[in-house]
């Protein structure tokens, strides 16, 4: 659900197919009958954008089902491993009480410093918290910050500990999470699901029953999703809704369970880990922000550290990161250079930046491995590009982004004169993946090293070459500057030149080995001493480590674990621990403590994964010489828990991090060690998933008539002529349209439309329309049609099929159409830009666009 796995992850889809041969049931919920549906035992059509209604329906069905209420497994898992029993503050008001919104909703007005955030509203999450005992006595955080206490920063962290939260293991308390969510989802009945999603009731019930049958002690079910669940104004909530359901079904932290994110670009996982995201620094620590209480190192730590989870170690991660940034210049006295670190002003994500660019607020842009000219409201995007003074494109091909200034439709049509575009465009030919050494990080968080297969032609250079030499030149340029704003850049360490004897693969190429070492981390005093894992990180500057989550992938100069290629022998339920290296700590299944029951024994033989071996004799600690008591977590995987922490171990009263959790709290990255059904903090759009309509929809919100859309979604460049959005049920755009991929092409198309072998497989842009609509509009197969949205109008050939069609939504017959979006004007196979139809609206948590559900009209050309 939420992905077209067979078409978009064909190699990974090998495994669902193997499971199918072993008798597993496969379900696909998708607006189209795709190549994945063709393999599934059951396909359920769903209107784009309505997944929360569907998942909410499942949740409602599950908590009221006989099986869930009679098999003790489910409650045992929910009460102990999730926050179902936790009691929520009495200030909290649910959508049930406030007709579709949660307590704490405020209006939002753009700050002058960065007026491109696009939020239509903003929540204050204060009222969503747990009901707690008063805070235990101890030094006050504010004083510690004022006193510049630490390193070590343990006292600071300890001072953050809140009082224990109230719980009701009977799940009866009206304000316990379970009762709240039961009420919250009560309206998500099968009938309602059918009305909103257009999914036939009988099919929906078959899905629910299949999930129940295949969940429990002895069986697990898994969900695999991708951007069908992200590209929405409430994408994050879709995924968290699925997580909620899976926690209720006991399908998290166990083999064959989980919520699988099928990530996109080959190393996109790596790019967010390392990270290229504006709002986080390495390892998903939040980027220092001018909008948060991040004035000083300790203030940042106080704001960002969760004292009672593994994140309690954040000071160690952060200081080691700062050491990697500023090296010797980072000392305890100057707070390890924290003040030099850049701070963000607001939403600097892709669309926000382009919204700013469109208003001439961005001078220049470096585009590396992206082709924005054909993605996300193409007209507006290209308008923004035209405002640039300079543009660098580094790519393997002359993409649409490199040629928009003389090839774009608006230029060809004469609406824009080439002479009026002042942008200076530079193109850098790039190497391809096989032409250099490096690592991929794939969907399962696994790093795999790849070796150069062949030399790149001509002047093609790697991206690391580009940044390495750019950085070296810039450091030269800034050398000797006394301006305080430049001190950060001057102090950045940049030691990636190959050592003597280490031959660069291209002239001026940095050493991939050194980059990996920087990421893995080493003893500050002796860089040849690599760090074995993040447990070794210190908050006093003695360790240097760019990315704590990657710490351990390169534990010794001669041990690059990402280059391992040893699969487990066939037949064993192996985790393939010797194939590549997966963060964190080479774990393959996260939170795998949950694969064992309270006593630490496997829930069932069939689902054995990680368990407690009480007889295990532990070796004495090398430093203290004292051997811990018998007992250890063992299994097929690396246990995601304190290795020798017994299942019956109580929390330490004044302990921080893992010491603050008991032996039965598997979710060690959560402040309460439990899976969150109700999300008290971290999401900006509410603690519970709620069905809203997409920014553009032909129907009203049946569940919350007073609240059509998410009250806090993002609408950038609102009111600007280049980003209009259609009214509810706008008669000019009566059809629901979704955009998606084909196996035969890759994203904006540069990597496939240039290739004869792939171009001939899908040579032209098309729109998939149902037979009923085709008949109504007198369109026959292969006819040219015009597709229009409030943002643009494009041409494509019609592919008339029963794999997509009409749905009964809110009593109306709604025609659903869909288009692959791979085309542009360059390459062998060319076609109109589908993104000329899409808009700049998106999700408030992660700022992704709503490309999956909007409205359009279709006319015979």
């Amino acid at each position: 659900m939420g992905s077209n796995m067979a078409e978009c992850h064909p190699v990974a889809f090998r495994w669902p197919m193997k499971a199918k041969l072993n008798g597993a049931k496969l379900i696909h919920v998708d607006p189209r009958f795709t190549r994945t549906s063709a393999m599934a035992d059951l396909h359920v059509q769903i209107r784009a954008g309505s997944d929360i209604a569907f998942l909410g329906g499942l949740i409602n069905y599950v908590v009221n089902s006989r099986r869930w209420n009679t098999d003790p497994f489910f409650k045992e898992f929910a009460v102990n491993y999730t926050n179902a029993a936790t009691i929520i503050s009495q200030d909290f008001k649910d959508t049930e009480d406030l007709e579709g919104v949660f307590s704490g909703l405020n209006t939002f007005s753009e700050p002058a410093s960065w007026p491109y955030n696009g939020n239509v509203g903003r929540y204050d999450p204060a009222s969503w918290g747990y009901e707690r005992d008063p805070k235990p006595p101890g030094p006050a955080t504010a004083d510690l910050i004022a006193r510049r206490a630490g390193p070590p920063f343990d006292d600071l962290v300890r001072s953050l500990k809140p009082g224990p939260a109230h719980r009701d293991p009977t799940l009866q308390h009206p304000r316990c999470v379970f009762q709240i969510l039961k009420r919250h989802f009560a309206r998500y009945t099968p009938e309602m699901v059918e009305q909103i999603c257009g999914s036939p009731k009988d099919k929906f019930i078959r899905v629910a029953e299949t999930l129940l049958e295949n969940s429990g002690r002895d069986r697990t079910s898994a969900f695999a999703y991708a951007v069908a669940w992200t590209q929405h104004t409430y994408g994050v909530q879709m995924i968290s809704c699925c997580a909620l359901l899976q926690l209720l079904l006991g399908n998290i932290g166990r083999p064959g369970a989980g919520v699988m994110a099928l990530r996109g670009h080959a190393a996109i996982q790596g790019s967010t880990d390392v990270p290229t995201l504006y709002h986080s620094i390495h390892g998903y620590m939040n980027a220092p922000s001018a909008l948060r209480p991040h004035e000083s190192l300790r203030a940042y730590m106080a704001a960002e550290t969760s004292p009672t989870s593994y994140y309690g170690h954040l000071p160690k991660f952060l200081v080691s990161y700062l050491k990697s940034m500023y090296g010797a210049a980072a000392t305890a006295d100057n707070d390890f250079g924290y003040d030099w670190h850049p701070k963000i002003l607001g939403d600097h994500s892709h669309i926000a930046s382009f919204a700013a660019m469109a208003e001439g607020k961005v001078k220049g842009m470096v585009v590396v491995g992206q082709n924005p000219a054909t993605s996300l409201n193409g007209h507006a995007t290209r308008r923004a590009l035209r405002e640039l003074q300079w543009l660098v494109v580094k790519d393997n091909w002359l993409t649409e982004t490199a040629t928009y200034w003389y090839q774009a439709p608006e230029v060809k049509s004469g609406d824009v004169k080439v002479g009026d575009i002042k942008t200076e465009v530079f193109f850098f030919p790039s190497t391809q993946i096989g032409e250099y050494d490096g690592s991929f990080t794939n969907t399962q968080r696994m790093l795999q090293w790849h070796h150069m297969a062949t030399k790149a032609p001509g002047d093609c250079r790697t991206d690391s070459w580009f940044y390495h030499n750019l950085a070296k030149r810039m450091k030269k340029l800034y050398a000797g500057s006394t301006a305080s704003k430049d001190q950060g850049w001057l102090n950045v360490t940049w030691d990636f030149d190959p050592d003597a004897g280490e031959a660069p693969i291209y002239p001026g190429e940095p050493s991939a080995r050194k980059i990996l070492r920087e990421i893995n981390g080493y003893m500050t005093a002796d860089p040849t001493q690599h760090l074995p894992g993040f447990a070794a990180l210190k908050d006093d500057g003695s360790t240097t480590c760019a990315s704590w989550i990657y710490c351990g992938c390169f534990p010794a100069p001669d041990k690059n674990l990402t280059a391992r290629r040893e699969p487990d022998p066939p037949g064993v339920p192996g985790a393939h621990l010797n194939w590549g290296w997966a963060w964190p700590a080479n774990r393959r299944v996260m939170y795998n403590r949950a694969s064992a029951d309270l006593q630490g024994q496997p829930w069932s033989e069939r689902k054995r994964w990680v368990w407690w071996d009480p007889t295990f004799v532990n070796p004495p600690d090398p430093k203290t010489g004292i051997a811990p008591p018998r007992g250890k977590w063992v299994g097929y995987d690396v246990p995601d828990f304190g290795a020798t922490k017994a299942p019956n171990a109580p929390p330490k009263p004044d302990g921080i991090a893992l010491d603050a959790l008991s032996g039965t709290q598997p979710f060690i990255m959560r402040a309460d060690g439990r899976g969150w059904l109700f999300v008290p903090a971290g999401l900006v759009d509410g603690p519970l998933p709620t069905h809203y309509e997409p920014a553009e929809s032909p129907v009203h919100n049946l569940l919350y008539p007073k609240q059509q859309n998410s009250p806090v979604y993002k609408h950038w460049a609102k009111g600007k002529p280049y980003n209009p959005v259609a009214e509810i049920g706008d008669p000019r755009f009566p059809y629901v349209i979704s955009t998606y991929r084909l196996t035969e092409h890759y994203l904006a198309g540069a990597m496939s439309r240039w290739l004869p072998w792939l171009a001939e497989l899908q040579p032209e842009l098309f729109i998939e329309i149902g037979k009923a609509l085709a008949q109504e509009k007198g369109i026959s197969n292969l006819d040219w049609v015009h597709i229009s949205s409030p943002r643009g109008r494009i041409k494509a050939k019609a592919l008339v099929t029963d794999r997509i069609g009409v749905m009964q939504v809110a009593g109306k017959a709604i025609h659903h159409v869909g288009m692959p979006w791979h085309w542009g004007w360059m390459g062998l196979s060319t076609g109109d830009v589908v993104n000329d139809l899409t808009s700049w609206v998106g999700d408030p948590n992660v700022s992704i666009h709503e490309g999956k559900a909007f409205v359009c009209n279709v006319e015979k050309a």
Binding site: A6, E7, P10, V11, F13, R14, M17, K20, L21, F33, R35, T36, S37, A38, M39, H43, Q45, L742, T743, E744, L755, P756, W757, L758, A759, E760, L761, Q762, P763, E764, F766, G770, K771, A772, N781, L782, K797, L799, T801, D802, R803, I804, G805, V806, L828, S829
Partner: protein, 273 residues
């Protein structure tokens, strides 16, 4: 001859990704139709349409629906069947087509002179000309790879193992099991095509698991050798030749009679010299 090698293609786990089609073109360096610049076919997701001289693998898409969302979508990766009794090999007048030590059927491109008899002879429409080479071409079952102990490029690339390569006897056993499994799961139409050594053409060294009639997948129900027609055809021709011969002689005879009967119509038949 070494052990007979071939393909078992389980169409029920084909996801139509066409990796096999591309892998084949890549390994054999086959050109794309019109360099890849062409119009879509409108026939589901099948834009290459057929096996021919530059498409040695072809993935077929069959949409079987009655009403929106209500039906199934069959996919099948087709290829040369490497028939145990091969029509193409039978007729080839240059001996370009040979049977290899792997019991596969290969066209030697350097021998072929492009007479195209094999094209019409193949019951499955597998062969066609490769315009670049001027010779008839088809799947070689990666003869060059087999010789060095490599698996064929297409099956290697197949992510779901819909295409399985191996010794035919093993593949047949595996295929039987799969059919039984499907039947048990209620897929009554599950059937093997070309697995029977006593069946048409002595069995196909590339055989298939189908869930509908062969014709639906573009496969003949009962493929046969072209020479089945030779005896009859030749006899009838000979017979008609004889008839004509007789007619001609009868004609002459009659003329003589007439002439003897003196002064029949027309001049006395005194030849000029």
């Amino acid at each position: 001859m070494a052990e007979a090698m071939g393909f078992f293609t389980d169409t029920t786990i084909c996801i139509g990704c066409k990796a096999c089609e591309v892998a084949c073109k890549n390994w054999n360096q086959l050109p794309a139709e019109h360099g890849g610049v062409k119009e879509m076919s409108g026939d589901s997701y099948d834009n290459t349409q057929r096996l021919d001289g530059i498409h040695w693998r072809h993935v077929r898409f069959i949409e079987q629906f009655d009403g929106p969302y209500n039906g199934r979508w069959l996919m099948m990766s087709d290829v040369c069947k490497h028939c145990v009794q091969a029509g193409c090999l039978e007729v080839c007048p240059t001996g370009a087509i040979i049977r290899t030590q792997f019991d596969t059927v290969v066209i030697q491109s350097d021998v072929c002179n492009g007479c195209r008899a094999c094209i019409a002879a193949c019951p499955f429409g597998v062969i066609d000309m490769n315009p670049a080479a001027g010779t008839a071409q088809k799947c070689t079952l990666c003869y060059d790879r087999l010789e060095v102990g490599l698996e064929p490029a297409c099956s290697k690339a197949c992510p779901t193992d819909s295409i399985q390569f191996g010794p035919i006897t093993e593949l047949r056993a595996r295929a039987q099991k799969r059919v039984e499994q499907l039947k048990a799961q209620g897929e009554t139409r599950a059937q093997l095509y070309g697995d029977d050594p006593n069946g048409p053409l002595g069995g196909l060294n590339s055989f298939y698991l189908l869930v509908d009639k062969p014709e639906v997948y573009g496969l003949p129900k009962n493929p046969q050798l072209p020479t089945r027609n030779l005896p009859k055809s030749a006899t009838f021709s000979a017979a008609s030749a004889a008839v004509l011969g007789l007619l001609a002689l009868v004609g002459l005879r009659k003329q003589r009679m007439d002439d003897m009967g003196g002064g029949g119509a027309g001049g006395g038949g005194v030849s000029p010299n």
